[in-house]
Amino acid sequence: MVEYLPILVMFAIAIAMAVVILVLTHLLGPRQDDPVKLSMYESGVNPAQDSKVRFSVKFYLVAILFVLFDIEVVFLYPWAVTYKTLLSSLGWLMFWQMFIFVAVLLVGFGYVWKKGGLQWD
């Protein structure tokens, strides 16, 4: 694990930088509050209603699809890294294993596509 130490250090540095930037800009700038300045920006008119409005369900759908297919890709990573070396011992089985896995997911993808899950309009 020692090779991960520098990454820890980098995280510490990055956090420190972020904090310093946020604190510095808070301290250095002038403060002249007034209610209009602190109100919600809505192109100059008075804000109409709360902005936590309902938004398209498509975003949820994309999130779910992302989880599905990104996990698929992540599953493929160990396979990809060992593909060359294991080809010699397992032969084409190595290929077919992945192919079936991807094919199963592709059927699901085709299904989503056909059902309009990817339609944005």
């Binding site: 397992l90 089985l93 199963v104 059927v107 699901g108 085709g110 299904y111 056909k114």
Partner: protein, 480 residues
């Protein structure tokens, strides 16, 4: 690679066919969709055939994650039978309910796959994955009539409670893992019998959580609350599937875990299950008496039957218990699917009342249908010469052999109670006058096949049970 890859052949076939159904669904026109049911049915039959191919060579595969012993394979047969019968019931029913979508068939096949994975899992994680595949498919199926509020309500109830139960189950696995250091059933059994458990209390908590998880799936007494509503709200064909395949899957995994992994602790966990079994039987039977709707009555009766099946597990002898349990499940599958088939046929969208005109005088209008329903009721009540009787006989004799005399007696008392409400259906069918204005449709071919097969199955198991029981000898022999 050796041929252990094909240990899961029946499951692979089902998955392949469910994908085929999905793909075909995208290409077919709306009117052609019932054909997808045929495709799915072919998948089930091919899968059944592949089971027989695996029968003679029980083996474990994938680093002991999967086993194909007779217990698993016979469970496969139960699931496949109930899936196949459900498919036959569904084709016409879905069109009538206007929910004819290809996903239904694909999900049904996937649910069966999950059930099979649960039965063949030799590792708690495999069982869990099977449970998830099964549950998620059935959550969707329960809400498949998506324009029907009751169906949606039932799906949501089932999903919310089911998610909790899955959580309990997973937590139970974690606890058992903490106590024994493994999730493999073989190794757990070893560790438990050698007494090298790291923490007895963890194991206890784990067992309790596992019981809760399984108890939910099979509708045992304190975890049964979802059952009536879900069974009633879900499309009736799905209810038929849930009360047979899902219950059977729950019991298969239940049996696998308690009869082999925790078998060495048998004396310790029987107490808790004893109480659950008795409460489940009494609760199911007594509340079933009060029901006016046949669908709801069958829901409560399925709770009661879970109680009987639990007796088999309590008996605790791996071969005897699992044999009688599987026998009972098979008989129950035939009986219940046929009963729900008749409920489907007689129900016009909406409520199916006991004393309503649907059942009254059925014997006059449809003698054969009434006969089938009567056979189902007799079998559920456990009267010879039906599958239900032989199933109960095996279970109670297993209990007596294991010296659980009181349990057997209570079981018999419950059977007697149940006779009352089962026979009431027969009474209504045979002795009440039919409503004059009521017109029935025709029986679909699929329905006819289901009813005929079920009656044959019920009598076959009820009169010559020996042939099936012979198959179940040493059903868990891979472990011994």
């Amino acid at each position: 690679m050796d041929n252990t890859v094909f240990t899961l052949l029946p499951l692979m076939i089902l998955v392949g066919f469910s994908l085929l159904v999905l793909v075909a669904d995208m290409m077919l026109a709306r009117e052609q969709r019932p054909a997808l049911g045929i495709v799915a049915l072919i998948g089930v039959i091919v899968s059944l055939i592949s089971c027989s191919w695996l029968w003679n060579a029980p083996q474990t595969a994938w680093s002991d994650m999967i086993v194909s012993d007779h217990f698993a394979l016979f469970s496969y047969i139960i699931f496949l039978v109930s899936t196949g019968l459900t498919l036959l019931l569904s084709m016409r029913y879905l069109s009538e309910e206007d929910i004819q979508f290809g996903e239904y068939y694909a999900l049904l096949l996937l649910a069966a796959t999950g059930a099979m994975l649960m039965a063949s899992g030799l590792d708690l994680m495999t069982i869990f994955i099977g449970l998830e595949i099964l549950s998620i498919s059935v959550y969707i199926l329960a809400g498949f009539a998506r324009r029907n509020e009751r169906s949606l309500e039932s799906a949501l109830k089932y999903f919310l409670l089911g998610a909790f139960a899955t959580g309990f189950f997973l937590y139970g696995i974690a606890m058992v893992y903490g106590a024994t250091g493994t999730t493999n059933i073989k190794v757990i059994s070893q560790v438990v019998s050698e007494g090298t458990i790291r923490s007895q209390s963890f194991l206890w908590i784990g067992i309790a959580l596992l019981v809760a998880g399984f108890g939910f799936k099979v509708a045992l007494f304190p975890f049964h609350v979802w059952t009536p509503d879900v069974y009633e709200g879900a499309p009736t064909s799905v209810t038929a599937f849930m009360s047979t395949a899902v219950k059977a899957a729950g019991f298969a995994a239940f049996g696998r875990v308690f009869l082999s992994a925790l078998q060495p602790m048998h004396a310790d966990w029987t107490g808790i299950l004893w109480i659950l079994a008795v409460f489940t039987m009494f609760f199911g039977n007594i509340t079933a008496i009060a029901q006016r709707s046949v669908k709801r009555m069958l829901a409560y009766s399925s709770i009661a039957h879970a109680g009987y099946m639990l007796i088999a597990i309590i008996a605790g002898d791996a071969n005897l218990s699992s044999g009688s349990l599987l026998f009972y499940l098979l008989g129950y599958a035939f009986t219940n699917v046929a009963a729900f088939g008749i409920v489907i046929y007689l129900s016009r969208k909406g409520e199916t009342e006991f004393d309503g005109k649907d059942y009254a005088g059925l014997a006059i209008r449809h003698p054969w249908l009434a006969f089938v329903m009567a056979v189902c009721m007799v079998s559920l009540a456990g009267i010879p010469p039906t599958a239900g009787f032989m199933g109960k006989f095996y279970i109670f004799s297993a209990a007596i052999k294991a010296k659980f005399y009181w349990l057997a007696v209570l079981g018999v008392i419950n059977s007697v109670i149940s006779v009352y409400y089962y026979l009431r259906v027969i009474f209504v069918m045979y002795f009440e006058k039919p409503a004059a204005d009521y017109v029935h449709g025709t029986l679909s071919l699929g329905m006819k096949i289901v009813l005929i097969l079920s009656v044959i199955g019920i009598f076959q198991l009820g009169t010559v049970p020996g042939s099936v029981m012979a198959l179940l000898q040493n059903s868990m022999m891979v472990f011994q």
